[in-house]
Symmetry: C2
Subunit: 491 residues, 2 copies
C-alpha cells in the first residue's frame, strides 16, 4: 500500500475514535446517571490517551513525508492531518496532561464560583489555566508569531488577532450608533405571555428543526442544561432546553443548533470519517448556526409564518399580529449576559472578551486585575454597572476550560453570516416569499451546495469566499442590522 | 514503579475503554438514530482494534512475568489478566478479524432469515461461523482439551462439557416428570386481562426495580427491543420492553435485568475499572438475574404484595385474589420459544441447544442437518412438532454471532440460583414475611454480602460455594420447582 493509503486508513480509525469521544460527551450531558461522573472521567481520560497517542504516532510523520496527493481532496486531507500532527508534536506531553487535568478541575471550580458570585475562589485556578495556555501558546508559536495567534489558530486557522482587532474597530462605531438609536427610541416591544407546556415546546422545536432540513434519520433532539450540537457524519445530535415561561429560548436555540448540525450532516459522504468530515472552523460553523437562527429564523417573513404556528401550538401567546411577534423575537435590550444578547448587542459582548483575553495571554493584563477591567469596560460599552460577578467575568465557562481565542469566532461567524446572506439573497430573489410560507429550503439548499457539503476541503476564509464569490467584509452584516432594526424600531 | 503497578495502571485504562465499548452498545440499542448504524460499526470497529492491541500488548506479558501479588485480590487480578492475555495471544489476528466481520454480517442475515422463516438463507453463513469458531477453539484448546470446552471456557471458566452433560442427565428425568404432572393436570391458570398503558407499566417497573435495590443514581431504565443490562461499576443501565396487552413481560424482564445490574453495582468499589470489577461468569450472572426474577419475584409471598401493586397501577387486572395472580405469574405451558418459557420448561430448551451445539462444534452434526435434528429433538422433548423455523432453530440470535458454549450458562445460572436460594432461606428464616410486605432487601443484602461484592475475586465455582457454604448441586433447584408447582397445580 502507498503511504497515502496507509495514512488515510489510520486517520479513519482516529476520526472514528474522535466520534466515540463525542458520543461520550453527548451521553454525559443528556442521559448519564448522576453518580457516574467520576467513572466517566476515567473513561474519557483513557480514550483521550488513545487519541493523543495516535495523533503523535511517529508513523503519521513518516506517512506524511512520503504521501503524495493527486486530487484537491487528497491535498486537503494531507494539509489537515499535517496541521494536527505538527500541533500535537509541538506540545510537550506533560504540558498537555497538566492542561487536561487543570481545566477539567477548573470547570467545577468556576461553576461553584459563579453560583456563589465569588471571584476570589476562581482566580488562583484561572491564573494556572492562563499560565498553562501561555506555555502551550509559546510551544505552538515557536518564533513565528504572537501567543494569542497561536491559540486562535486552533479555532479559526488563518486568522490573526490583529486582523480581528481591525475588523472589530470598524464594526464598533456602527453597532454603538445603532444601539443608541434603538434604545433611545423609548418603548420596547411587548413580549409573549401565555402557557407554554414543555411537550408543546418540544413538538414545535421538532417541527421547526424539520422545516430547516434537520435529518432525524441521522440525528435526534434531547434536553440538556446547555443547548449543543454533537457528532459528525451520520449521527449528529442536538439538545435544547425548555423554560415553560418563555418559549423563544427553546425555539431559537433549536434553530441555532440545527444550523450547526445540518452543516455536519450535509458534508459530502465521501469525506465521512476523514479530516475533511467536519465543519472547517468555529467561525464558519457559527456562520451556519447564526444565519439559520437570525437572517432566516428571525426574518420578518419567516416570523410571520411562525406566528401562526405558535398560535397553533400554544393558542394565545399574548400578541395579536405578525409585526408584534417579529418585534418580540428581535427585542433589543442591554443585558449583562452574552448568551441572551440580541443581534445588536451580541458582538459588543464579544469585543469586550476579545480585548481582555488577548491582554491576558499577551501578559498586558494580570488575572488579578481582570474583574476590574471587565467591569470598567462593560460600563463604558453598555452604560450599566455590572451588579455581580456572575453577570460579569464569571458568566462564561470558556476561560475556565482554557478556551482563549475562541470568543472572536462567534463574531466572525456573524460577519460570515452577513456575507453569506447577501450573496444568497442575490441568488434567490424570491426567498422572502418562500420564508413567508415557512419554507427556508431554497436557502438551506443554497448553503448546502455552496458551503456545507465541502466540509474541510478549503481553509475557512476560502470556504466563505468560494461560497459568496467575494471578499469577507463586515459591511453586509452591519447593513443588514441597520435595515432590520430601523424597520422594527422606526429609527 | 513495580511491574504490578504498571500492569494494573495499564489494565485500568483497558477496562475504562471496555466500558466505553459498552456505552456504545447501549446507545446503539436505545437512542441511536436509525441511519447511524454503518458509521457506528466503524466507530466500534476502531475501538475494538484499540482494545485488541492492548489485550495483546507484549508489555502485558512482560509485566505478568515480573509482577508479584501479595494479597488475594492482587493474585486474582493477575490470574484474570493472564487468562485474558493468553486467550488473546492464542487467536491469530486474521482469524479474530474474520470472526468479527463474519458474525457482524451473520446477525443481519439471521434476522432476515428468521423474519422470512427461510433456513436456507441462513445456512451458508452459519456454516462459516461454525467453521471459524471451530478454528478458534482449536487455537485455544491446543492439545489440552475438546473444542467445545475451549469455547465454554469463555463464558464459564472451569466448567466442562462433560460435567454439564452429566448435570443435565441428572436434571432431565425430574423436569420431564414435573412437566408431565403439571400439564396432565388439565386446566391452565387464567391469565391477566385489562388495560396496561405503557406509562403505567414503566412506572411499575421503576418502582419494582427500586424495591429490588437497583440504584438509579448509578443507572437508568430505557426501552429497547430486547431487555439487557449494560455496564459495570458506577454506570449500569438496564432496558425493558413494553407490550400494552401483557404487563408481566415488562415487569419480570425488569426484575431479571435488575438482578444482573445490581450484581455489577454491588461489586466492591475497590475493584472498579479492574479485572475484578465485573460479574465473574455468565452462569453466576444468570444466577443473580434468575433468583431475583424467580425465587424472589415469582414467590407466593412477593406476588401477593405485587398483586396489590398491580391493582393500584392498573385497576382491574382480571384476577381477583393473590393465589390466582401467583398462578398466572407461574403459568406452565409448552411453547416453542425459549425466552418465553416457564421455569419448568426453560432448562429443557437449554438442554436441546447444548446437545446440538456441542455436536456442531465437535463435528458430529453437520450444519445442513441442524434443522432436522432440532425438530426431531423438540418433538421428542416437548411433544409438539415445530411449525416453522422461527419457532425452531432460527429463534435465537446466539449462534449467528458465534456464541457457542453460552447457552448452558443459562441453566447453570438456574442451578446456582437453586443452591443460593436454599442457603439464603436457611440464613433468613423469616424471608417470606418480608417478601409478603414487598421487601426483598434481606435477600438482596444477603446476596450482595455473600456473592455480589466479590466480583471476579474467586472463580465461578468457588464464588457459589463460598456463598452457599456447600457443593454445587441440581437438587435444590429441582426440589424448589417440585414444591412450587405441586402447590400451584395441586399435583
Amino acid at each position: 500500500m502507498s503511504a497515502l493509503t496507509d495514512l488515510l486508513a489510520f486517520q479513519r480509525e482516529t476520526e472514528a475514535l474522535a466520534q466515540v469521544m463525542g458520543r461520550l460527551g453527548w451521553d454525559q450531558e443528556t442521559v448519564m446517571p448522576k453518580g457516574a461522573a467520576e467513572q466517566r472521567s476515567d473513561e474519557m481520560g483513557a480514550l483521550e490517551s488513545v487519541l493523543h497517542a495516535r495523533r503523535t504516532d511517529p508513523r503519521v510523520g513518516e506517512w506524511l513525508d512520503n504521501a503524495e496527493a493527486t486530487t484537491e481532496a487528497e491535498a486537503a486531507q494531507l494539509r489537515l492531518i499535517r496541521r494536527g500532527y505538527e500541533r500535537a508534536m509541538k506540545v510537550p506531553a506533560d504540558l498537555a496532561t497538566a492542561l487536561a487535568r487543570t481545566t477539567s478541575l477548573a470547570q467545577g471550580i468556576w461553576a461553584r464560583a459563579r453560583a456563589a458570585d465569588d471571584v476570589a475562589h476562581f482566580l488562583p485556578t484561572l491564573e494556572e489555566v492562563v499560565n498553562l495556555r501561555r506555555q502551550e501558546a509559546a510551544a505552538l508559536a515557536g518564533s513565528d508569531g504572537t501567543l494569542y495567534d497561536a491559540l486562535l489558530d486552533d479555532y479559526e486557522p488563518g486568522m490573526s488577532g490583529d486582523e480581528i482587532a481591525a475588523l472589530f474597530d470598524r464594526m464598533r462605531p456602527r453597532l454603538v450608533a445603532l444601539r443608541e438609536r434603538v434604545l433611545g427610541q423609548g418603548t420596547p416591544p411587548k413580549g409573549l405571555t401565555g402557557a407554554f407546556p414543555e411537550d408543546r415546546q418540544l413538538a414545535l422545536a421538532h417541527e421547526v428543526a424539520g422545516v430547516f432540513g434537520y435529518d432525524f434519520l441521522h440525528g435526534r433532539i434531547d434536553q440538556a442544561v446547555h443547548p449543543f450540537s454533537s457528532g459528525s457524519g451520520k449521527d449528529v445530535r442536538i439538545t435544547t432546553r425548555v423554560d415553560e415561561g418563555e418559549p423563544l429560548g427553546c425555539l431559537y436555540s433549536t434553530i441555532h443548533e440545527v444550523g450547526h448540525a445540518t452543516y455536519e450532516q450535509n458534508i459530502d459522504d465521501a469525506y465521512g470519517l476523514t479530516a475533511l468530515g467536519q465543519g472547517v472552523s468555529m467561525g464558519v460553523h457559527e456562520s451556519q448556526s447564526r444565519i439559520y437562527e437570525n437572517q432566516l429564523g428571525r426574518s420578518a417573513p419567516f416570523t410571520g409564518w411562525l406566528f401562526n404556528r405558535m398560535r397553533a401550538h400554544f393558542d394565545d401567546i399574548g400578541l395579536h399580529d405578525q409585526a408584534a411577534f417579529h418585534a418580540a423575537v428581535n427585542r433589543v435590550n442591554a443585558g449583562f449576559i452574552r448568551t441572551e444578547a440580541d443581534e445588536v448587542h451580541y458582538n459588543l459582548h464579544i469585543m469586550l472578551r476579545f480585548d481582555l483575553e488577548r491582554a491576558l495571554i499577551s501578559g498586558d493584563l494580570a488575572v488579578a486585575d481582570l474583574e476590574a477591567a471587565w467591569n470598567d469596560r462593560f460600563e463604558a460599552d453598555f452604560g450599566v454597572k455590572v451588579d455581580r460577578p456572575s453577570h460579569g467575568m464569571l458568566q462564561d465557562v470558556h476561560w475556565s476550560v482554557g478556551l482563549f481565542g475562541y470568543f472572536p469566532t462567534y463574531s466572525l461567524g456573524n460577519v460570515y453570516a452577513g456575507c453569506l446572506n447577501e450573496a444568497m439573497r442575490r441568488d434567490i430573489p424570491d426567498l422572502d416569499a418562500h420564508l413567508a410560507e415557512g419554507d427556508p429550503s431554497a436557502a438551506t439548499f443554497w448553503l448546502r451546495e455552496r458551503l456545507q457539503r465541502h466540509g474541510g476541503l478549503r481553509p475557512p476564509r476560502e470556504t466563505i469566499m468560494e461560497a459568496t464569490g467575494g471578499e469577507i467584509s463586515e459591511a453586509p452584516l452591519l447593513d443588514y442590522l441597520d435595515a432590520k432594526f430601523a424597520a422594527i424600531y422606526g429609527v
